[in-house]
Structures are given as C-alpha cells and as structure tokens.
C-alpha cells in the first residue's frame, strides 16, 4: 500500500479519532515506516501549535460589549409604547402647556364676567357635546328626566379656548 493512502488514517489517528482496530493497524504500519512516522509527528506538532495559537481569549471588554449590545436591543424591542422616548417628550410638552395655561394671568382662565351661555340640556336645540356617549345596550332616552345633567359652555375671549362644564343635577340648582 502506498504511504499517501495512509494520510487520511494518520490524520484521524493524530487526533484520536480512530476506533481501536484501525488504530492498531496504523500503529503496525508506523512501526515499520519511517516516512509515515515523520508525517504523523508533523501532524501532531501542527495540531499542538494550532491549539496553542487559539488558547488566547479576547479581553473581557469584548464580551461585555456584545452583552450590552444584545441587552440594549432587547430593551428597545420590548419597551411598551408608553415608555418610549417620544411619549415622554410629548407628555413633557403637554405638561408645560398646561402649566403655562394655569400660570397665565386670570385673563381667560377665570374671566371677569365672561360671556356665559347657559344652556339647559333638555332644551338644547343643538347639543354641542353629548353629555354621555351612547352606550351599547342602553336605549336612548326620549324624555329629559329631572336628574338630567346640566351643561355650561364658557366662551372666553380666546377663540381657541372654550370651557365646558357638565354637572349632575340633583333636583334643584
């Protein structure tokens, strides 16, 4: 048998990948073939060098970088919409606007006698806002009852601000 035919088996033998019977066969050939002995020792040496060269492990910072990238991505994906940055921004702007309205001089928040239009709900020709949203299963009431809510519309001198005041009537007012 030509020695190149032994190469594959020698390569498996070098890594301990031969079953006992073929390993014994290889050993018998090695005992009588100097060329294959050299080949086998070269295989073992290069395998050892290769293993040695790959013993180095990247510095801990390289692992930490991967971990933090993965966690950051997972955090981004699982964050519910009300916890995303733009919602906070929007809420902050809304809060600032409300605060500005509250602090603004009493010109239109508490207007000295504003033009008030009092509309009694039962008689309202055009309801501006339904006092209650229609509910499923509830038939619309045809007649106003004594406990019907009272709706007040405050028209301020700021055309963009109209204040609605809806109050429950308890028999008298």
């Amino acid at each position: 048998m030509n020695c190149t035919d032994w190469e594959e088996r020698l390569a498996l033998y070098a890594g301990g990948d031969l079953a006992p019977a073929p390993a014994a066969e290889v050993e018998r050939h090695l005992a009588e073939c100097a060329g294959c002995q050299m080949f086998a020792s070269g295989l073992r040496a290069s395998l050892e060098l290769l293993e040695g060269a790959h013993q180095e492990v990247p510095a801990p910072a390289h692992f930490a970088a991967v971990r933090s990238r993965v966690l950051a991505q997972l955090e981004r994906e699982r964050r519910p919409f009300w916890r995303r940055a733009w919602v906070y921004g929007f809420a902050a702007v809304a809060a600032m606007l409300l605060a500005a309205v509250a602090i603004w001089p009493s010109r239109w928040v508490a207007p000295p006698p504003p033009e008030v239009a009092i509309v009694h709900a039962p008689a309202a020709p055009v309801p501006i806002v339904p006092a209650r949203p229609p509910q499923a299963g509830h038939k619309p009431r045809k007649k106003a009852e004594p406990g019907e809510p009272l709706m007040v519309r405050l028209v301020t001198d700021n055309p963009d601000v109209v204040i609605y005041w809806i109050s429950e009537r308890k028999g008298e007012y």
């Binding site: 390569a11 290069s46 060269a53 692992f63 991967v66 990238r69 993965v70």
Partner: protein, 189 residues
C-alpha cells in the same frame, strides 16, 4: 460534551425558564455562561474579532427569540454551536472581504516582553491564517473538533452532516494545516 457542561446545563434550566418569562437579568446570566463559547468559536471561524462580535450578537438575539425551542431541545450548547456556525456563514457571505488578521493584536497576550510578544503574535497569526486555507466546511469541522473539543458525532450533529463526512473533512483539514505550518516555519524559522 463534558460532564461539566451537562451539569451547567442542568442548573441553567431555571435560568432559561426565567429568561423565557422575560427576565433580562436571567438572560444576561445565560449570555455570560455561553459568551466565551460563542464569541471564541465565531472568532476561530471568522478570524476577525469585530465580525465575531457581530455574529455573537446575532446568535444571542436568536437565542432570546427561541428560548422555548432551546429549552425543549435540552441541548443549549449544541443549539448555540449550530446557530453560531450559521451566523458566521451568513456574515461571511455578506462581508466577503473582511481582513482576517486585523484583530490579532487585540487578543490578550501572556507575554510581557515586546520582542517575544511580537514573535508570538506572528506565530499566532500564521496559525490562524492556516485556518483560512481550508474550505468553510473543513474549517468548521476542524474548529469544532480540535479547538472546541466536540466529538465527531457532536460535530456531525452541529453541522447537519454524516459522521463519515465530518471525519473526512477533519482529516483533510489536519493534513492541510500541517502542510501550511511546515511550509511557513521552514521558510521563516
């Protein structure tokens, strides 16, 4: 797979359950447990630390999304090896021209003496380069068998091929590495 790995996996089942329930701290613990295996395997397959980090990131994101499947399989290491090999294959297809040796200097070295360190680094580079001479399948088989220490049966399962194929790939790879190493060191030493 070693007894130690199997023990770690038995203890890890609670961690997997917690991570599956959305506990990111538990998932971080799981990553710490397997990050060396994933990043180092990717580095050996790709030869670039930067690429290996990208591949690791993909592997762990995939792990998070498949925790149920992984838990059911009961073999997280095998699953991670398979996904790592696939992630490296995809990444190499996307970035065929990545430079293999750019990151050799980033690896921690035990040598303090700069001259010795640079010689050691060069030797390491050559040996890492020898893996680049192999076909992708041969490299994967060699890395998993000789550097990660899996059995040929485990390598076959990870690579989805027969044991006979894996044995043939491993033996060819070993002969090629021997030839490359001997040619290089005969010329340079």
């Amino acid at each position: 797979m070693s007894t130690l790995t199997l023990l770690a996996e038995a203890n890890g089942s609670n961690v997997i359950a917690a991570a599956k329930a959305g506990d990111l701290a538990a998932f971080e613990q799981l990553m710490r447990q397997y990050e060396r295996m994933v990043l180092v395997t990717a580095l050996r397959l790709l030869g670039s630390l930067h690429d290996a980090q990208d591949a690791s990131q993909e592997v762990f994101l995939k792990l998070y999304r498949n925790l149920g499947k992984v838990e059911a399989s009961g073999n997280i290491s095998g699953w991670l090896y398979r996904v790592t090999v696939n992630a490296c294959h995809d990444l190499r297809r996307r970035r065929p021209d990545s430079v293999p040796m750019e990151d050799a200097g980033e690896l921690r070295s035990r040598e303090a003496d700069p001259a010795e360190q640079s010689a050691e680094q060069e030797r390491r580079c050559v040996l890492q380069l020898s893996l680049r001479m192999l076909s992708e399948k041969e490299r994967a088989a060699l890395v998993l068998r000789d550097l990660e220490g899996l059995t040929t049966e485990e390598v076959a399962r990870v690579l989805g091929s027969s044991e006979a194929t894996v044995r043939s790939q491993i033996s060819k790879a070993r002969v090629k590495v021997k030839g490359f190493v001997e040619r290089y060191f005969r010329r340079h030493v």
